[in-house]
């Protein structure tokens, strides 16, 4: 009744091509942005930022990155944890080598460095496909973790091999270290999320994105119609790694503050990101957010209900959490194999016809 295209007239091609063709969608989008930037920063505290919002935002960036590679370009990657580590260690080296560099530049440069590493590990994708590529990226994961453990230069020869984010500021506000205002950290990450998600969305609608999708759908056919697989695959690896590198840099410097490569960026992180992409929906920007939200927020929510509200023992709650999240993943994959994004799409289709579906 309210959610429909009738009466929403488009008179130019640009209007016809916009991301949100429905008025209600546009209003919702701007409302979320407004709330995110102007309301949330004033009502949050340390707990909300450190335990809920920062991980959600940072994993959203990483999930968008992996979604570009896996969802849009069809290249399965199990190396995302390793690429996040590249971003984290790049940001650490940049922060300690150039203390006066703005954190914005540090994060972007970390992403760029990760993009270069991603291109190198993406080269085999021109020859190998599917499961075999997954194994090759798995090698990247183990190689990178091993390297950051082994080469002491990466952690500035510290005794323990831990990296610690020193205090750095952006526009006079502390963004890393101990004395960070919760709203500053939140706004910093939110800005990255909005810009990167906007860029990703538009990239996937552009020439580049269509090439990726052509490669994903059938690479031989894509080659015949003139898509250069070298350019398409490597650009997907580069862009994806850039996103994942930015996420890794933020995860280490803003969210955790200290990290150890085996624990923070191990193989389980690669799987976590892949789960987020699959649960959220392959080839969907909204799905990346939904998947990240599901995998990050749901366990916290369950824990707070079971331990905080019901007063259960912490170990029982933790075990139940595994059971419930695991069962939900299976149920989702059976009921809606295309992820939360497809569920959302179906809901919207239904809403257009509501309340008179016939």
């Amino acid at each position: 009744m309210f959610y429909r295209e009738a009466g929403d007239f488009k008179t130019t091609y640009a209007e016809d091509n916009q991301t949100f063709p429905l008025k209600l969608d546009r209003i919702g989008y701007y409302a979320i942005l407004l709330v995110g930037f102007l309301v949330v920063p004033f009502v949050i505290d340390d707990y909300w930022v450190s335990a809920v919002l920062l991980p959600f935002l940072i994993y959203s960036i990483a999930t968008i990155g992996l979604n570009i590679l896996t969802g849009y370009c069809g290249q399965v990657s199990l190396g995302s944890g390793g690429f996040m580590a590249v971003g984290a260690y790049a940001s650490y080296k940049l922060m300690t080598s150039f203390p006066d560099l703005s954190m914005i530049i540090v994060v972007l440069l970390s992403g760029a460095i990760t993009a270069m590493v991603g291109i190198v590990f993406g080269l085999p994708s021109l020859r190998i496909k599917g499961f075999y590529l997954a194994v090759a990226t798995l090698a990247a994961q183990f190689f990178l973790v091993w390297m950051f453990n082994k080469v002491e230069w990466f952690y500035n020869y510290s005794a323990s091999g831990q990296i610690n984010a020193p205090e750095r500021t952006v526009f006079g506000f502390n963004i890393t270290g101990a004395e960070v205002q919760p709203f500053v950290a939140y706004l910093f990450c939110l800005s990255f999320v909005v810009v990167l998600a906007w860029a990703a969305r538009n990239m996937t609608r552009s020439n580049t994105g269509r090439r990726w999708m052509a490669i994903r759908d059938m690479d031989i056919a894509a080659e015949i119609i003139g898509v250069n697989p070298l350019g398409a695959k490597l650009s997907a690896f580069a862009v994806s790694s850039f996103y994942i590198g930015v996420a890794g840099a933020l995860l280490f410097s803003v969210y955790l503050g200290a990290a150890e490569v085996g624990e923070a960026f191990g193989i389980s992180k690669s799987f976590l990101l892949l789960f987020m992409v699959i649960i959220g929906g392959l080839g969907s920007i909204f799905g990346s957010f939904a998947g990240a939200a599901f995998m990050v927020l749901f366990p916290v929510l369950l824990k707070n209900i079971m331990v905080g509200q019901l007063g259960w023992a912490t170990d029982i709650a933790a075990h139940f959490e595994f059971v419930i999240v695991g069962a939900l993943i299976i149920i989702f994959l059976i009921v809606e194999p295309h992820g939360l994004a497809a569920l959302w799409r179906v809901t919207k289709e239904k809403l257009r016809l509501w309340p008179f579906p016939h």
């Binding site: 005794a159 323990s160 831990q162 610690n164 085996g262 624990e263």
Partner: protein, 428 residues
Amino acid sequence: MKLTKFAAIAAAALTVASPVLADLVFPSLSYRTGPYAAGGIPFADGYADYFTLVNERDGGIGGAKAKVVECETGYNTEKGVECYESTKGMGALVYQPLSTGITYQLIPKTAADGIPMHTMGYGRTSAANGKVFRNVFNYPDNYWNGASAIVNHLLEINGGDIKGKKLALVYHNSAYGKEPIRTLEALAEKHGFKLTLLPVDHPGQEQKSQWLQIRRERPDYVAMWGWGVMNPTAIQEAANIRFPMENFIGIWWSGSENDVKPVGMAADGYKAVTFHNVGSDFPIFADIQKYVVDAGKAAGAGDQIGTVLYNRGLYAAMLAAEAVKKAQAIHGTKDINASMMRDGMEALEITEDIMAAQGMPGFGPSFKVSCENHGGSGTVGVQQWDAKAGKWNLISDFKPTDGDVIGALIKEDSMKYATENNITEGCN
């Protein structure tokens, strides 16, 4: 409509219900799940049981009830952050994360929030320099004391000369396992022994190649920095290559019943360094039986009492409770806050009499904390596993470690941290 309602409920549930401010809150960032649960459960049980005992028997600490708030970390640093943020608003007095990774994360956070952290025998070793790490304490012992104690023990059994001997270090390839390397390298130079480093990756079930290397290089002694499943695996591998167990020495985190029992009789003679006593032959255990176990208030399954790691949790809680008493005495109030707790910890003095009064005579070393020295006495004992009797025996007193080597390294590492983070050294 349904969706917004659900979102509202979800938002309400995400916000932690802040409980009524209890008198003395001790958050316990425990891990009863995950790959390191076997070590996390007994420690958390011991920590909780001691405070239950104090509440039931003495009516609290100095008249104020103690409350333990548990939060499950699973030894995971991200969950550790969540746990810290969700408990710090409850009036938390002291954090004991039992994880080196989480410790590193919490060092700047606790400094900003003014909450002390006690990392007993783990964490960042250079936190012993209280002039830089104002809020972090690691008394009575740190990893570098442990490393030095292992070397001292080797000196002792070799009549004071280990020149030309070979020592292999099998370590968990993480911040935790890497901590002793620097000290061992310095000690190798000083005493002229040869050090071989053998990293084992998380979680540590796969050690065939490391032990093959040991078999080939035939080191005289093997030291181990392991945790969780890595420990029994290493001891089993050592037994498989018939490495003499009395030449195999673990750090205190590689010396619990969980580590030796799976190997059976072959583990007989395995040694580990320790900073507290073993067994349940202390008066306090009668009280625990009476006030905690028989009253049905034991934490967890209640089957860990008297094990090495349970005793360690008990000891950690005892030290925390003594620091509370000290803080209450300094500030003249029974309801102390985190910064008063910090003062209490910095003025803490543990003597034989205090331990005996708690029913734990000779349970740990006697030591004194000061602003310059947050590390305590640094005295370490050695325990040995008796597989026939199925128990650990303390085979050496708590003996001093090489303060010259360790002190210089602590100074170097803490000053590096101070310059990186713009901290000016000082006691005020």
